[in-house]
């Protein structure tokens, strides 16, 4: 009786088996990479803004304190985005006619708000409170990075749950003295852990990992 298959099909069969396993592996890896990559997380991606506002210039060069614009960061869950007035407070004097700032002036003229693209956007079922983090010695740059070096603002952390939990389980790694919270250039000392453990005690910081800490 004639051969149905060529002899090569033996080796072919074996290859197939191996190939199958490889393909599965590759797919899984790809999925993981894509999910962790900036395509999904938007890390390092600066969205377009109505006005190309530069933290680098305002914080880095001019040395304006975070709280000058983000007024409610110490008191409220929401750090606060400055009203047009705040911008014009300075820009009615300096760069008063800059083409770049026309939208801001327009906003004040027409009374229509500027519409900033949100950079750090948590899902709606996550309830984050700025004031308590600030109050317990978590610095701005810990989460938002060196905005003083960002011409356009972008995310430096994924804001994934694992990222939050990472700190909530062991705050000592990231807590800094209260007076350093707004120091954008703050460098964690080499003895951070022992300092951290001391501050955690001092500031009565709890490691809150209950679901309802953020979800309700």
């Amino acid at each position: 009786m004639a051969q149905i298959f060529h002899r090569s099909s033996n080796s072919l069969a074996k290859v197939t088996i191996v190939a199958m396993l490889l393909i599965v592996g590759v797919v899984v890896l790809a999925a993981y990479k894509i999910n962790a990559g900036s395509f999904i997380t938007d890390v390092d991606v600066a969205p377009g803004q109505p006005v190309p506002f530069s933290h680098k210039h305002h914080v880095g060069d001019d040395g304006i304190d975070c709280r000058y614009c983000h007024t409610s960061v110490e008191t409220s869950s929401f750090a606060g985005i400055p009203p047009t007035e705040t911008c014009m407070g300075c820009h009615s004097q300096i760069w008063a006619n800059a083409e770049l700032l026309e939208p801001v002036r327009a906003s004040l003229r027409t009374g229509k708000s500027l519409e900033w693209a949100r950079v750090h956007d948590l899902p709606d079922f996550v309830y984050f409170n700025h004031s308590i983090h600030i109050n317990k010695g978590i610095g701005c740059s810990t989460c938002h990075g060196r905005v003083d070096q960002m011409p356009l603002t972008y995310k430096v952390n994924t804001l994934y749950m694992q990222w939050c939990i990472g700190c909530h389980r062991n705050p000592a790694q990231f807590v800094r003295p209260r007076d350093q919270v707004f120091n954008i250039a703050y460098q964690y000392p080499d003895n951070q852990l022992e300092l951290g453990i001391r501050l955690v005690k001092e500031y009565k910081i709890q490691s809150l990992t209950d679901c309802v800490t953020c979800h309700r």
Binding site: S113, Y127, R216
Partner: protein, 963 residues
């Protein structure tokens, strides 16, 4: 459903491109009435989209939609984004105000709380007040001035009204009529008076469908002048309610009364030497007050009159009950209250005034003041006069400020026919309702949260009504309309109200006075002074009609119909029978048998030749030969929620059978009407979820609620006990105080963004009340005791739900909260199966309204809006716990007892619900749980609930204790 089937074959793109769909998106309120009642067909397109997006979610890599941040251009100073602000204002029902504090997020009112400063509230609210915030955002509210049904403008109206005024000027205003509800607002009254002085021939008529007609007439009958009666339940040892439901919101001041009365009961339960009050209730239909009664006498509403005259004292008491009651009253002279029902005839009120005087209660427990109404007239006569004049063509201009007489005027007046004869009819109202339909002009009224005004409370205290938000739909207040008549069209309501009080104010510090008044929400020292009434003259023996009786009452949830279009109230179970989305003909079991009808039969009831058809509900505890029907239903132009549900009881109500009529007949027309109730089993089935005893028994066996055999030793577990280091949240619910008013249920709904599911879904058993109030009957079917038991999540320490959730969506917090994480839930519903208390609620469909823009405003931004397919339940208002903790942390202090108040606790007029930290031995809740009346539901299961109950105590009259 049919259209659905045909629809769902379509592709989404196809859908998105249909005009129908665009209409949907543009339409602010897509769900029509049937859709409200059948969410199965609600917002189907959006759900299709939702489903497709959700399914896309299956492929893990989905990106969040981009969001914008839109800051202020000029930020108000006091405004801190992310933090709510509270403002004091007042809500009036039938003209009588209750002070409230309104929570506002970024300028949008989201939640109503009672105003602790206000005598009528003391921080408490009722269901109607809680739900009023939904009415503010109700997209069915009329949104523009209309003329002959076509869109018009405020200016046009001003022109028309001014024209009419000028035309009437030569005739001194003859032919100009103003129709209002009960007016307690000093400002409005003055405005009207100003007009009447300028136009002496013009008339002001008042009509309130469920107003205090009897009380007013009763006072006049007894004292020959109107007087306002205030009851001091905090001083009363013996209370005899003659069909008075003074614990429910049908009675002005009820919140205060409930607070005072339950405080007495609680005090007696906590300290043996304090005497408990004894409450006798004579009524025809079980009321929440009746459920609190130590002795409830079941009798027809007409029979109450006889009972009243049998406890007068001068004529010998006939029945043994009456004798016992009389004896008890006489034993407590000056410490008793006899209170007549709002809906009992004036003669009963007169008798009661006389009794209270002869017993020396007047001036002690029963306090009299001048009338709180600006113009206390006989409103029925007033309306009848108006109708007569309209029919005679004597009325040229009729200005209806609020109200809905076409719907709720006594049927025999034929208001509508007369109305049609008026040349210029203008209607001011929240909704373009039945009356608006027959008026040339309709002006959208400003909701009280949008208004400047003022109003008096049950004791006369003036509260200033200040707006929380600009009128959403350009609504106007009565003040502004009156300004048009008074030729001051450009004056704002604010200036009018402020101007009035400036004129009243003595001294120069008006601005401070005004600021303080606005801040407190109460105008200091405006409570009416006590007045000693002239000795009441006792009317002759009271007679009672014969034959089958029909009793008219405002609906327990939607009242006289003004609140009909409020979906929260429609879905609020009526306390007595847990019915939603309907009214019914309530009949006693015996009478039902006698007339051969049963629950679900559709009958036609006839009174004085007028007929109306409605479904029957057999109500245990209802008096025989007495039917009770409720107003507020059978609306035709209420809005998409209320149109076409229930039947209109006003259709058979006449001017002389305002509250009850005899000689009625009942005949079955159809069967098998489907009600939607939230509780099917009426009794406790040999179980004891609700535990009660008499004070005497309690003092004999203090641990009756938690007998030895029911206890479970604390170490009865294989697992090591978790130690709650920081906090240990717990709740105590005092069944001895709870009156079953359901304010907590609606407060919870408002606080926690709980969706409305509609009648069909409720009928399937899918209502979403996080905090349900169970109602049990105990004793004979004919005349049982009524028990109310609020049941939120028990937050068990050994929570069974947590054990079985496969994805850890419900877990235990370090503080003992039973957390429900919506965004982790996949919806196996196993937790609900394993919950012995069945307090978990499931989103079988997308119940949350995701597309009605205007309703987004009412949502609490601190609580997730749940999507389809997730479980939800009471969270002990964890959002309040968190913010209180964060504030305390920031101030580096421990959380104080009372920092955290749950929504239900805050609303409760009886202070029956107490929440707090069990780790703090001095917290109120910890103390309450140490009481001997404390017991937990199903303790034998060893679930260790954090929510426990304090058993009910009764104080029966030994002379009447049967058996």
């Amino acid at each position: 459903m049919k259209h659905d089937k045909s629809l769902y074959w379509r592709s989404l793109d196809e859908l998105a491109s249909t005009d129908e769909f665009r209409a949907f998106v543009e339409d602010e309120f897509p769900n029509r009435t049937p859709d409200w009642n059948d969410p199965a067909s609600r917002r189907r397109f959006l759900r299709l989209m939702g489903a497709s997006i959700a399914l896309a979610g299956a492929s893990a890599c989905t990106k969040q939609p981009k969001e914008l941040i839109v800051p202020y251009v000029r930020q108000p100073e006091e405004m801190i984004p992310g933090k709510p602000l509270f403002y004091a204002t007042a809500m009036s029902v039938a003209g009588i105000a209750t002070g409230v504090l309104v929570e506002s997020h970024l300028g949008r009112p989201t939640k109503i709380e009672g105003n602790p400063e206000h005598p009528a509230s003391l921080g408490a609210t009722d269901a109607a007040i809680q739900a009023s915030v939904l009415t503010l955002y109700d997209p069915d509210r009329s949104q523009t001035v209309t003329r002959n049904g076509y869109i018009s403008g405020w200016g046009t109206f001003i022109a028309a009204l001014t024209g009419a005024r000028d035309a009437a000027k030569p005739k001194k205003g003859a032919g100009v009529r103003i129709l209002t509800g009960t007016v307690t607002s000093p400002t409005l009254a003055t405005q009207i008076q100003d007009f009447l002085t300028e136009f002496p021939e013009a008339r002001w008529h008042q009509y309130e469908p469920c107003g205090r007609h009897s009380a007013r007439a009763g006072a006049i009958l007894a004292f020959a002048k109107p007087m306002n009666t205030i009851y001091r339940f905090d001083r009363a040892d013996v209370i005899v309610s003659l069909d008075s439901d003074f614990l429910s919101s049908t009675t002005p001041g009820s919140l205060r009364y409930a607070r005072d009365y339950s405080a007495r009961r609680r005090a007696a339960a906590e300290t043996p030497d304090r005497t408990p009050p004894r409450l006798y209730v004579a009524e025809n239909t079980p009321s929440v007050t009746g459920s609190m009664a130590d002795h409830r006498f079941r009798m027809t509403a007409g029979g109450v009159a006889e009972f009243a005259s049998s406890i007068r004292g001068d004529t010998g008491a006939t029945s043994p009950e009456a004798r016992a009651v009389l004896k008890d009253l006489q034993a407590h002279r000056g410490a008793g209250i006899v209170i007549a029902g709002e809906y009992q005839p004036p003669s009963v009120h007169a008798v009661v005034h006389a009794i209270n005087q002869t017993l020396g209660n007047a001036g002690k427990t029963v306090v009299y003041t001048g009338p709180i109404e600006a113009n206390p007239v006989d409103q029925i006569a007033s309306l009848a006069e108006l109708v007569k004049d309209m029919r005679d063509g004597a009325v040229e201009t009729l200005l209806i400020l609020g109200g809905n007489p076409v719907y709720d005027a006594p049927a025999d007046l034929n208001f509508l026919d007369a109305l049609k004869k008026v040349k210029l009819r203008a209607h001011l109202g929240l909704y373009s309702n039945e009356t608006a339909a027959w008026c040339h002009f309709h002006i959208p009224e400003a909701h009280y949260l949008e208004s400047w005004s003022d109003a008096r409370a049950y004791d006369g205290t003036v509260g200033i009504v200040q707006p929380l938000i600009m009128p959403l739909y350009g609504g106007k207040t009565p003040h502004e309309v009156m300004n048009v008549l008074n030729d001051a069209a450009d004056q704002s309501a604010h200036d009018t109200v402020q101007g009035y009080w400036q004129a009243q104010h003595r001294g120069t510090d008006f601005d401070d006075f005004w600021q303080i008044t606005l801040h407190d929400g109460v105008m200091a020292g405006t409570a009416l002074p006590e007045k000693a009434p002239p000795s009441a003259k006792m009317p002759e023996q009271l007679a009672n009609g014969a034959g089958l009786e029909i009793v008219f009452r405002p609906d327990p949830s939607v009242g006289d119909g003004a609140l009909s279009n409020n979906a929260w109230l429609q879905e609020m179970p009526k306390p007595q029978n847990k019915m939603t989305w309907d009214n019914a003909v309530w009949i006693s079991p015996k009478s039902a048998e006698h007339y051969g009808v049963t629950t679900g039969d559709v009958v036609e009831i006839e009174l004085g030749g007028r007929k109306v058809g409605g479904p029957v509900w057999i109500m245990p505890g209802q008096a025989d030969e007495s039917l009770t029907v409720h107003f507020g239903y059978g609306r035709t132009r209420a809005g998409k929620v209320a149109d076409g549900i229930g039947f209109d009881a006003y259709a058979v109500r006449t001017a002389n059978t305002l509250w009850q009529g005899t000689g009625a007949s009942i005949a079955r027309k159809a069967r098998d009407y489907k009600f939607a109730t939230t509780q099917h089993t009426q009794t406790m089935e040999e179980r004891d979820p609700f535990r009660a005893a008499t004070y005497a028994e309690f003092h004999k066996t203090p641990d009756f609620a938690r007998p030895e055999e029911k206890r479970v030793p604390n170490d009865l577990t294989l697992f090591p006990q978790w130690e709650y280091k920081q906090h240990k949240w717990g709740m105590s619910i005092d069944l001895n105080s709870c009156v079953g008013c359901h304010a907590c249920t609606i407060a919870c709904q408002s606080e926690n963004n709980i969706p409305v599911v509609g009648k069909e879904e409720v009928a399937k058993g899918r209502h979403m009340n996080w905090l349900r109030v169970d109602r049990y009957f105990k004793g004979p079917l004919e005349d049982p005791e009524l028990y109310f038991q609020p049941v939120p999540c028990m937050h068990c320490e050994n929570a069974l739900c947590e054990l079985v959730c496969p994805v850890a969506a419900t877990v235990h917090s370090a503080e003992g909260l039973n957390e429900m994480v919506y965004n982790r839930c996949v919806g196996t519903r196993y937790c609900s199966n394993n919950c012995p208390y069945k307090v978990r609620r499931f989103n079988f469909f997308l119940y949350a309204d995701w597309d009605t823009q205007s309703l987004f405003g009412v949502r609490n931004p601190d609580v997730s809006v749940r999507s389809r397919g997730v479980m939800e339940k009471c969270s002990y208002c964890v959002q309040r716990i968190n913010s209180a903790k964060i504030e305390a942390e920031k101030q580096d202090r421990p959380v104080k007892d009372g920092d955290i108040v749950t929504a239900c606790q805050q609303a409760c007029p009886a202070e029956a619900i107490v929440f707090g930290d069990l780790n703090d031995p001095n917290s109120r809740v910890a103390k309450l749980k140490r009481q001997q009346r404390d017991y937990s539901l199903l303790e034998e299961l060893n679930t260790r609930p954090r929510t426990t109950y304090l058993a009910r105590l009764r104080n029966p009259n030994p002379d009447l204790e049967k058996g």
